[in-house]
């Protein structure tokens, strides 16, 4: 069935939350193309897996409930990986 509008909006919000989080803390490049099916794994899914592995979550590559719960927690602004200069 077509997704009901507010579900679509929720989905949009979720994607925004996930993208922001991975850009801020997992070095996801802003210009990634999350919706293009290229031969490599979707960079967003790859970064999501990295974040899930760091927090000891089940590594699904999908923004499941446990993952979103962690992303909503107040935290330090320093990235979890990579250089912060």
């Amino acid at each position: 069935f077509p997704v009901a509008p507010e579900e679509a909006e929720d989905e949009g919000k979720t994607l925004q939350l996930v993208e922001n989080y991975l850009q801020n803390f997992y070095n996801l490049q802003k210009d990634h193309q999350p919706h293009l099916r290229n031969k490599d794994e979707n960079p967003l899914a790859a970064k999501l897996k990295e974040m899930q592995a760091f927090f000891g979550l089940e590594v699904t590559g999908k923004p499941d409930l446990d993952t979103l719960e962690i992303m909503k927690k107040p935290r330090c602004g320093i990235p979890d990986i990579g250089q912060y200069v």
Binding site: N24, F25, F54, F55, G56, I70, K73, P74, R75, C76, G77, I78, D80, G82, Q83, Y84, V85
Partner: protein, 365 residues
């Protein structure tokens, strides 16, 4: 460690507080910062000296949104603060988001906890994936009076600056792992169908419908509860859980701590000679609660709200050779007694121990 392993070339560092948040008394901000600095100086050769009117190694300030360091803050919650790795200029500096509710206790965000974490970055540490570590990325409250720098953070900072100059090297708490065969428990209770295992400042939570065990700080759910809960039991009929530490006890009604607690355990009928309760369980069929202290047990009538006469009695007289009890709970008519890494399954009808297991048998290891 931070990529490139940046570190200060000197052990005697300076810090300066550039401004203050209006949400706390200045004296409380000073105190929180001094305590946060001592978290690291206590376990390394590092020293910190406060300077007033010149450039310091670590400049501490409260800032709004875009504050010209390419990392704007995001308003209340979300990102609470950030800090820069050791180096000249902005290196080592700590920035705190002024729009957060900074406090010196469990409300809002505790300034001491956040600054202690950021100072870890100022000294060259990056984030740890140990959920109990101070350098874990997400905020979690611990009562500053009970705070002990975890071993994970001690190992990290000493790898950079070496050990403390003290004769006795400081050690810190280790985060419990559910499948650690050496795991022992302070207390265990059921809670609306779940099982809660208490260990230090942590609780391991086992829901029957989930395979994995959830590890949380006790303070995440109950900031007013101390760490080191020593006994706990659920009174299913009243939908209450009683929690004991030393000579005090708290009551959880549903998931919230009931007002007016803690109360002295002597209200339950213990004599003043009893200083703490080691374990407890409530027998759902008889409505009696069994308390375990040292090598004896007591029996409390929940309906009469008084201790039964003729107690305490020797544990061995009723429960056999289970020795002293660390923790206990009842499930499906059986009572499970925990002592160290051993668990006994006791059948109260036959008064026999029917099985002996490992303490971690509930965690699907």
């Amino acid at each position: 460690f931070t990529a490139g392993n940046p570190k200060w070339k000197r052990n005697n560092l300076t810090y300066r507080i550039l401004n203050y948040t209006p949400k706390m008394r200045q004296a409380d901000v000073d105190k929180a910062i001094q305590k946060a600095l001592s978290v690291w100086s206590n376990v390394t050769p590092l020293t910190f000296r406060k300077v007033e009117d010149k450039e310091a190694d670590i400049m501490i300030s409260f800032a709004y949104r875009d504050h010209q360091d390419n990392s704007p803050f995001d308003g209340p919650n979300g990102q609470l603060a950030h800090a820069f790795q050791p180096g000249e200029g902005i290196g080592g500096d700590v920035h705190l988001d002024e729009e957060e509710a900074w406090t010196k206790d469990g409300r809002g965000y505790n300034l001491f906890i956040v600054i202690a974490h950021e100072l870890g970055h100022s000294l060259g540490l990056s984030h740890s994936n140990d959920p109990g570590a101070l350098m874990y990325p997400t905020y979690s409250y611990t009562d500053p009076n009970e705070f002990l720098l975890p071993q994970d953070d001690i190992d990290g900072i000493q790898a950079i600056y070496g050990q403390s100059n003290d004769a006795v090297q400081p050690t810190g708490p280790i985060t419990p792992q559910a499948c650690d065969p050496n795991l022992t428990f302070d207390a265990i209770t059921t809670l609306r169908g779940e099982k809660i295992f208490f260990k230090g400042r942590y609780m391991l939570r086992k829901h029957p419908a989930r395979t994995e065990t959830e590890l949380n700080f006790i303070s995440l759910f109950w900031p007013k509860l101390p760490s080191g809960i020593q006994a706990a039991y659920e009174n299913v009929e009243r939908d209450e859980v009683l929690l004991f530490k030393e000579d005090k006890y708290w009551v959880l009604r549903g998931y919230d701590i009931a007002p007016g607690y803690p109360k002295p355990i002597y209200r339950l009928g213990f004599p003043k000679t009893v200083k703490r309760v080691n374990a407890a369980y409530n027998d759902e069929t008889t409505g009696k609660t069994y308390f375990f202290t040292a090598d004896r047990y007591w029996r409390y009538d929940e309906n009469k709200k008084s201790m039964d006469h003729g107690y305490p009695k020797k544990i061995v007289s009723k429960f056999g050779k289970i020795g002293r009890v660390d923790a206990a709970f009842q499930k499906d008519g059986y009572v499970y007694f925990f002592r160290g890494t051993t668990q006994f399954q006791f059948d109260p009808h036959t008064k026999r121990i029917v099985r002996q297991m490992k303490s971690i048998s509930w965690f699907n290891c």
